[in-house]
């Protein structure tokens, strides 16, 4: 939260570790990876000349700078104590992504009437506090309300319910 991250007093075991700022170390590696991917993907784009800059010049230039910063973070993390990596609980991100993906896949194939409750129920699994029955009722109410609002009040072209060959709403 504060400007410069205060070095956290490392436990004796951590102090022996080569990596003194694990968060920055991984952050640096991530930047290096992004830079490498971007450089790799733009090799076939021309740089052009400065009076007629090509499409590849900027992406490559930016990626190079990112790589340098990443390298700096990695080196710095070996020299100076910093934040630990912290916990990475995966339940939240996983179910949330699945929920959003389910919406993306179902909105055009079966419509909002199914996609809405689907998002709500799958994302519900992201929290340990969820009560499935309560959520199901709530999800149906929310979906019904949004169908009324977006489709009928606002006239947005969102498919409501599609049953192939039988019904398109």
């Amino acid at each position: 939260m504060a400007g410069e991250t205060e070095p956290i007093p490392a436990s004796p075991a951590e102090r022996r570790s080569v990596i003194r700022a694990p968060q920055n170390f991984v952050a640096g590696l991530a930047l290096l990876a992004i830079a490498a991917i971007a450089l790799g993907a733009t090799t076939d784009l021309g740089s052009g000349r400065f009076y007629a800059v090509g499409p590849g010049l900027l992406p490559r230039g930016i990626a190079t700078l990112l790589g340098i910063l990443g390298l700096g973070l990695v080196v710095g993390s070996l020299l100076k104590d910093g934040e630990p990596l912290g916990r990475w609980p995966l339940r939240g991100p996983l179910f949330m992504f699945l929920a959003v993906a389910a919406f993306a896949l179902s909105i055009r194939t079966v419509g909002l009437a199914v996609a809405g409750p689907l998002v709500a129920m799958i994302s519900g699994a992201a929290s340990p506090e969820t009560r499935p029955k309560e959520l199901l009722v709530f999800a149906i109410v929310v979906t019904a309300l949004s169908i009324g609002l977006f489709r009928y009040v606002l006239n947005l072209p969102i498919p409501i319910l599609i049953i192939p060959g039988i019904l398109v709403l």
């Binding site: 971007a38 700078l65 609980p89 949330m96 896949l105 909105i107 929290s127």
Partner: protein, 500 residues
């Protein structure tokens, strides 16, 4: 001066039609409704509500959007005061004394003074925008590509300095934003860049998608992780109108906060975030008894809230005059304007004066609305806070998915948003702040375009950026700002400002 009055009159005659007042009212109402939900900042609120403006004509849509924006802002302050959860960075300061006031049974007065201060700030900022718009537009017409490029460099430098957290990490986020902005078909050569063969990427990433994923959804994930710690011990609201003593104490801070906020909001690169922090620090310094701060001092709510609102409003200036969005929220406004066929920039004022001045006048109308709706409806907002997060976040996701889908009627946009949610979450976990990323993304395309154009005009000589005096001045400013950020003394001061 007469010009100013005539322009404002034109604006008010547009904004005060029954139709547009109605739209401003709906915008403010739903903006507050969504903004008051804990953990939803203005960016998520605006993205979610964007679809409701689609079927309205441009002037009305912009008026509605401005209403949503102010509503979301004010909603954030309400949660800051009542449940100690700031809706966004700028409301953090409000939690300090605002929530203390609430615990002392003065929640109503805190909300009241926040609304009154914001209204005053809004009135002043509206006049300032109206007064500065014409001269700045004239200036903007003198700007060539080199000047635009240098101005954006200055803006990004500000963003680095204003980001909390380490300078290299903020710089990295700006660069990542710039890199993301190059994804898609190159406008000049038609070459596909960094699309990895994914057809959804050929036209680039929609800003709403990136912002919703990296900020909105990642925010939900962060909230999920923290067990529900809402301070919901029923705080009584108490009376809403501040007494004479309160008003006397708050008058000075409101006036100073307004000035600070307006001035900082004009800066490119999200100067508006600095307003509340600066105002709080100033009031604490001026106070006879600084120890009252943090224990429910009304000055600590009045000043920052006024600064917040003034900044929120004056940050429209760079957008409306130069076409450069100074922060992520304004970038969303660009997206919204483009949907309605308006390209923000110096030409809007001359080509479409009704829209331009109507929007400025509607800012004032929006602020008045907030004062009229929010205070009487405080009871309803409090009820909303009773909805447990376990039900709230699935509903947020449903509405967000619908919102994102409707922007382009595209299912792959929804999928991309999911991917960016994961990216945003990982960045948060690695200690990166995502606001500079968004700004980098927003300015990226404009910067590249202007850089290439400037070099083309100068036949490939980079010296054009320092030979043209205005451009050189802007770049010099950027250099000074960056140097200052790295100086140890300023670094310490900066840490202090943000921890306070």
């Amino acid at each position: 001066m007469t010009d100013l009055l005539a322009n404002l009159a034109l604006g008010f005659s547009t904004a005060l039609t029954l139709h547009n007042v109605g739209l401003a009212f709906i915008g403010c109402l739903v903006g507050t409704l969504i903004g008051v939900l804990p953990g939803i900042g203005p960016i998520a609120t605006i993205t979610m509500l964007l679809p409701i403006t689609f079927n309205v004509e441009p002037v009305g849509a912009l008026i509605m959007l401005a209403g949503i924006y102010y509503g979301a802002q004010y909603g954030g302050s309400t949660t800051a005061i009542l449940v100690n959860i700031p809706g966004e960075v700028t409301a953090i300061v409000t939690t300090l004394d605002g929530h203390q006031m609430a615990r002392q049974g003065r929640a109503g007065v805190a909300l009241g003074i926040a609304a009154i201060g914001s209204f005053f700030a809004g009135c002043v900022a509206t006049v300032v925008i109206a007064a500065l718009a014409a001269p700045l537009v004239k200036l903007a017409l003198l700007f060539g590509p080199a000047e635009y490029f240098s101005l954006m460099v200055l803006g990004l430098t500000f963003a680095v300095v204003l980001a909390r957290g380490s300078v290299p990490k903020a710089l990295a986020m700006i660069l990542l934003g710039l890199l993301l902005s190059t994804i898609g078909t190159d406008l000049e050569t038609g070459a596909e860049r960094l699309t990895f063969g994914v057809s959804a990427l050929t036209s680039g990433i929609d800003f709403a998608v990136l912002a919703m994923g990296v900020i909105g959804f990642a925010e939900v994930l962060k909230n999920l992780e923290a067990p529900e710690t809402r301070d919901l011990e029923k705080v009584p609201i108490g009376r809403l109108l501040p007494g004479r003593e309160d008003l006397k104490r708050a008058a000075g801070p409101i006036a100073r906060g307004t000035l600070l906020g307006t001035a900082l909001g004009i800066l490119p690169g999200n100067g508006a975030v600095l307003g509340p922090f600066a105002s709080y620090a100033l009031e604490k310094k001026l106070a006879k008894d600084p120890s009252r701060f943090g224990r429910g001092a009304i000055e600590g709510v009045a000043g920052p809230e006024s600064a917040n609102n003034a900044g929120a409003q004056s940050s429209f200036i760079p957008l409306l005059t130069l076409g450069i969005p100074p922060n992520a929220v304004m970038a969303l406004m660009v997206g919204a304007m483009t949907i309605h066929g308006i390209v923000p920039g110096p030409l809007v004022m001359t080509k479409n004066p009704t829209l331009f001045w109507g929007m400025i006048a509607s800012m004032w109308v929006g602020n008045l609305m907030l004062l009229i709706i929010n205070l009487p409806l405080v009871g309803i907002w409090v009820k909303l806070l009773d909805v447990p997060y376990r039900l709230m976040y699935p509903a947020i996701l449903v509405f967000s998915c619908i919102g994102i889908y409707s922007v382009n009627n595209s299912a792959s946009d929804v999928m991309l948003t999911g991917v960016f949610a994961l990216v945003g979450y990982a960045l948060l976990k690695l200690g990166f702040e995502t606001a500079p990323l968004l700004l980098g993304y927003v300015l990226g395309r404009l910067m590249e375009e202007n850089l290439r154009r400037a070099l083309l005009i100068a036949r490939g000589h980079f010296t054009t950026f320092v030979e043209r005096p205005v451009s050189a001045g802007l770049l010099g400013g950027a250099l000074i700002v960056l140097a200052a950020a790295i100086l140890p003394a300023v670094r310490k001061r900066r840490a202090e400002v943000f921890t306070e």
